[in-house]
Symmetry: C2
Subunit: 213 residues, 2 copies
DNA sequence: GCCGAGAATGAACCCACGTTCATTCTCGGC
DNA sequence: GCCGAGAATGAACGTGGGTTCATTCTCGGC
């Protein structure tokens, strides 16, 4: 009478998996929960249920709830940083403008601007002021992201007729993207990915006229 | 042996004040607490202690904690909107550029960018995804702010040589300001009010060359 | 001066949630 | 096939925190 199912839907059989797999399962479940109920009311019971696992497993793999949350934040920032680095450290672009286009494309890709992920980002941003650990993770991630954007902008600036204040432009671009993400999250009916991309692009064309071609 | 002090520092005497005063006291205390410990770990005990009042008073004036939080959010958004409206609806500016200058000045004024207030803003933004009530208050506030900025930009656009896409520029400007505020909050060591103002101004000069004078 | 309305207090209550841990189960090595 | 390591479970525990409410206090009207 034992139903054979790949994922053991109704099965009572206990499944044992490596630590890394369980940790990721829990982190992903945490993200879904945060976007559903908010960082301030996520409970361990919800997360473990969402992950389809037992109550005590989170403590087994993360010790404390706070650790799970921190790892969730790290997961999201790392993923973004890896994606951005893949583009900005790549050597196989034929021009800086093409690299820039890839960057914008990436920043407003479905994967990055997915509601679940952005909800998590901003939930932690909102708590960062009062939690040194979150603060540090966010600051480090932002700094890393900013550095590589600045490098690209330096290249692009050198190609322009008029002199460009790379520092100010980088700060402005990063703020613009953050603000667009926020809008995308808070008013998805009013701001769309396509619209946001166009706005970003308008900013860039204003600063680096040569990319207009 | 009874020391007469205006604020009855050590006095045991019970003070009775009008509802509106108590409500504001509690709201201000809530803001300080949120910026200190974060929205997700604010407790009624902390807030009432911070306000120098008794445990039960919050429930007396707000019924539930949730109401106090909502009123706190409303307090912050209303204050901002009133300040912005004072500038953008004023008839006593000699030119649109002057009005624009006043807007930027206001948006990066100490009063608006004060750490306490911005922490509150972003704390609620972070929870807005999962709380329809916060979501609505934020969206309404943003929409109102955007409308009046768009009106000013329409005026400014009409003065330029080349045609300006007012919609995209408004969206961009608002996103830029939000992003700069976020930076100001998360990395106050790296981003300063003056720097932020300069970045905003650079954006505006790019879009509306005529204001450069 | 007295009284009623309602503002203010804080001890007590109760529940939700994080954490613990005794027990059960799985798997690989021998 | 047996055994030990450790992964997984979920009932039970303790506590922190929101809410209630009986009581006390203040003030304005008469």
């Amino acid at each position: 009478m034992q139903t054979k199912t790949i994922d053991s839907v109704a099965g009572k059989k206990r499944v044992i998996l490596p630590r890394a797999v369980r940790r990721q399962q829990l982190i992903l479940a945490t993200m879904r929960c945060i976007s559903k109920v908010g960082l301030s009311s996520v409970t361990m019971a919800q997360v473990t249920k969402e992950a389809g696992l037992s109550r005590g497993i989170a403590n087994l793999h993360f010790e404390r709830k706070e650790n799970l949350l921190i790892e969730t934040l790290r997961f999201v920032t790392d993923e973004y940083n890896r994606g951005q680095a893949d583009i900005l450290n790549a050597a196989n672009f034929s021009s800086a403008s093409e690299q820039l286009a890839a960057l914008v494309q990436f920043q407003f890709s479905r994967s990055v601007t997915e509601a679940t992920k952005m909800a998590v980002w901003f939930a932690f941003y909102g708590e960062a002021t009062s939690r040194p650990t979150y603060q540090k993770i966010c600051a480090d991630s932002d700094a890393r992201a900013a550095r590589s954007v600045r490098a690209l902008f330096t290249q692009l600036g050198a190609m322009q007729q008029a002199a460009v204040n790379v520092g100010a432009v980088t700060d402005g671009y990063i703020a613009l993207i953050d603000g667009l993400w926020l809008n995308l999250l808070l008013a998805p009916k009013k701001m769309t990915r396509a619209k946001a991309k166009r706005v970003a692009w308008t900013f860039l064309e204003g600063v680096f006229p040569s990319i207009k071609a």
